[in-house]
Assembly symmetry: C2
């Protein structure tokens, strides 16, 4: 499918030029909506509306939901009001809500105008929830059952109302005040006897999210309980909508990307790289670069302050990058491990002493091996092979400083993210670059401290 | 549910001590399997078998599948052969396969001995697939239909055979040679007329994986096509099994953790942090630390080689950490962005020139702002406020070197991962620490080059 992409696209462009519409229609109807959406994005915008009108109705709406906002906007501008209303009718409500969030105000106005009054009301509600909350990603198109229905009646209800619902595999049972009473899977309905009652079959221990809950927590619930859909309730336990697993897969990717960007000292964005402008990339990267530059000048000031020590032993300067680099790497190994474990809920705040104890032992091992390796390397390579002027006391200074630096770096690296979480900051922001700067400064202080202690005696 | 965790656990331990088994049984039967599994892990191993025997049969097996291997092993040792066989009978086959992979050889032997001959054959096949391949994570428990069945017959078939299947929501249609002909969702079956034929309703454009495909590619297919299940076929298109979305959520987390660990110069492991031993953590971290230490000594050698330049202008030494740090951060911002975009399929290899063009402009902006900021800071803070001995030419050297370093760092940072991917290496390994070392060396060479050019004229 994806393999002969280039060919498909070329073939299609040629067919469009030759106006071979029936061949296009036949070919398109066999494609997957995701592939069709990608194909549209590669086409010149003048050809997009023509091609769209050749798609079967259901496939067209499904493909539309997967397109990038630029392509969607081109198509909306080309649509008549009637075409637009027909397309919105086919779209799931959560996809329409996503669309409204991406479009400029004038387009939003037109979209809401052609929506049915009922959809308009639901959309306005979804759009009012805070960004990245459970409410903002839910859909109101779920199968709602009543406890006193029989299985046969429930299956009949699904046959009639199912086609417009995002999922029919989990059904939600509510009372007359829309309060959530239980859930029932299509599987249980299919395997039950026709005259069983929904109320007897349903599971009343429902895992649910509230509308204001963060989408990251929603994703964690899906991962923890292997869910395929999750009900979302308001503060009075009234069922507002559901979130389905396909949206959660996207949320998980988005949240992980955010964490990775934060660890790399970038302000997160939820746009794909190629669709992010140069200015936006610049704005996302420069603040941390400036901040880290300022903090790095402190390291410079430490070097200046100890210039006297350096003057005594110029050879020590050559080991500064190795020392700072190894310290930084040791620290970020620990911090990244802890940050990721926190994100996956593998460790919690009260595990801090277990983490510190484990990292101390790992640090002792790493520090010892690195110090010994450095000592041997100084003797064998620097002194013997390269003939550098490193004295034995200087070699000892380097190795002792290295050992202490690795130890401190690992302990700082593992405790800072936990501390950040403790005081309510995002642990990911505390990662590599920030820790590197702290560890850089510490490693220099240790280095010069050890140097003046050993070399002056 | 999760909130009063501490209380639940304490309550349960107390009940166990008081032998209030009926209270325990009543309380447990209302819990979710995932929560029960977690509860077990917190209990002393002597109490685990007692508690396990109080669980309802289906819940017991489901909870068992979620427990960590240590707890599983304790329970297996406590089971009689009959109990073990009953539990395996309830487990899904892919969970049994996971279990076999984690257990020591003697336990595996016992597990296979008590399995049914049919399960044993299927398990042996799953275990033969390479680690992390689609074959190794599939389950053979799917609903298989024939094209000539009516909808009514298919629904009858599901009612009879459904209870043992991992999912009944996607059904797979095969011919008499087990070759995959099409898929049909439970939704389509439920919404169809009773006398429709499966062959007419099924979708013949099936997205499938092959047994040897990497699980990372499987996860990408799920994310791209919003799947809830994916069929896995062998080289002759014969249906071997299926993979369900709940396993893919775990695979996605595991693969992302691997990428993050590689970026932090750690050899990846798929064990949670608290269950990884000190020796294993040490072994995963020390190789990259040693390698990066060796490469960092080259930076040291550059400093030594340019000691003459340094002697001319000691003030320049103070800016080395800032220069190397900013270069490293600029580079890893670009590399991490590109690595993540590659992983999400947002950019591809042939986008290299678009990436280079975009990064060049971002680098020019960042470089210019950082250089100007540094120049002003040297004048205002270093010279005026701190009274440091930095001459104007020296300030110009620092700023020009910074600008060039940021430019080179961003271009190296964005092109190295693409290059790695091009020659078949993992882009994540090419990330931050490795790039930092390269950029460190380059930034020093640039610095001393600029210094000798400007200061000697």
């Amino acid at each position: 499918m994806i393999e002969n992409w280039e060919n498909d696209q070329e073939k299609l462009v040629q067919w469009l030029d030759e106006r071979q519409f029936s061949a296009i229609r036949a070919w398109l109807s066999e494609q997957n909506a995701v592939d069709v959406a990608e194909l549209f994005e590669e086409l010149p915008s003048t050809q997009q509306p023509t091609l769209y009108r050749l798609l079967p109705k259901a496939l067209a709406a499904e493909a539309f939901a997967y397109m990038d906002p630029d392509t969607q906007e081109v198509l909306i501008h080309a649509f008549t009001d009637r075409e637009l209303a027909a397309m919105l009718d086919e779209l799931y409500l959560d996809d329409t809500a996503d669309l409204l969030e991406e479009m400029p105000a004038s387009v939003v106005k037109r979209l809401l105008k052609v929506s049915s009054p009922e959809d308009r009301r639901a959309l306005n509600q979804i759009l009012r929830y805070p960004e990245n909350s459970a409410g903002s990603v839910l859909t109101t198109e779920f199968v709602g059952l009543k406890a006193d229905m029989t299985v046969a009646a429930a299956l009949r209800y699904i046959r009639v109302h199912g086609p417009n619902k995002e999922t029919i595999y989990t059904c939600y049972v509510t009372d007359n005040d829309r309060r959530l009473q239980g859930v029932l899977t299509a599987r249980e309905l299919l395997l039950a006897r026709e005259d069983d009652r929904v109320g007897d079959l349903m599971d009343t221990h429902v895992i649910a999210a509230t509308t204001t809950e963060d989408q990251e927590q929603v994703a964690a619930l899906f991962a923890r309980y292997d869910l395929i859909a999750l009900p979302v309730v308001d503060s009075e336990n009234r069922l507002v909508g559901i979130i389905t697993v396909d949206d959660v897969v996207d949320i998980m990717q988005q949240e992980t990307t955010e964490d990775i960007e934060k660890m790399a000292a970038i302000i997160p964005t939820d746009k794909p790289y190629l669709r992010t402008g140069v200015w936006e990339l610049f704005r996302n990267r420069i603040p941390w670069l400036l901040l880290l530059m300022v903090s790095a000048t402190f390291t410079g000031m430490i070097i200046t302050a100890f210039e006297s020590a350096l003057a005594v032993s110029v050879a020590l300067t050559a080991f500064i990058p190795m020392l700072m680099g190894t310290g930084g790497n040791s620290g970020s190994q620990s911090s990244v491990t802890v940050i990721r474990s926190l994100a996956l809920d593998d460790i919690r705040l009260d595990d801090i002493f277990r983490v510190l104890w484990k990292e101390s032992r790992v640090a002792l091992l790493c520090g010892a091996v690195l110090a010994v390796a450095t000592f041997l390397k100084i003797l064998a390579v620097d002194r013997w092979l390269l003939g550098m002027a490193v004295t034995l006391p200087e070699a000892i200074v380097v190795c002792v400083a290295l050992f202490i630096t690795v130890l401190i770096a690992k302990l700082v690296g593992c405790s800072l993210p936990l501390l950040a979480k403790r005081i309510g900051f995002d642990p990911a922001v505390m990662a590599s670059p920030f820790i590197t700067t702290i560890v850089d400064a510490i490693s220099l202080l240790v280095y010069f401290g050890v140097a003046s202690f050993i070399l002056s005696t």
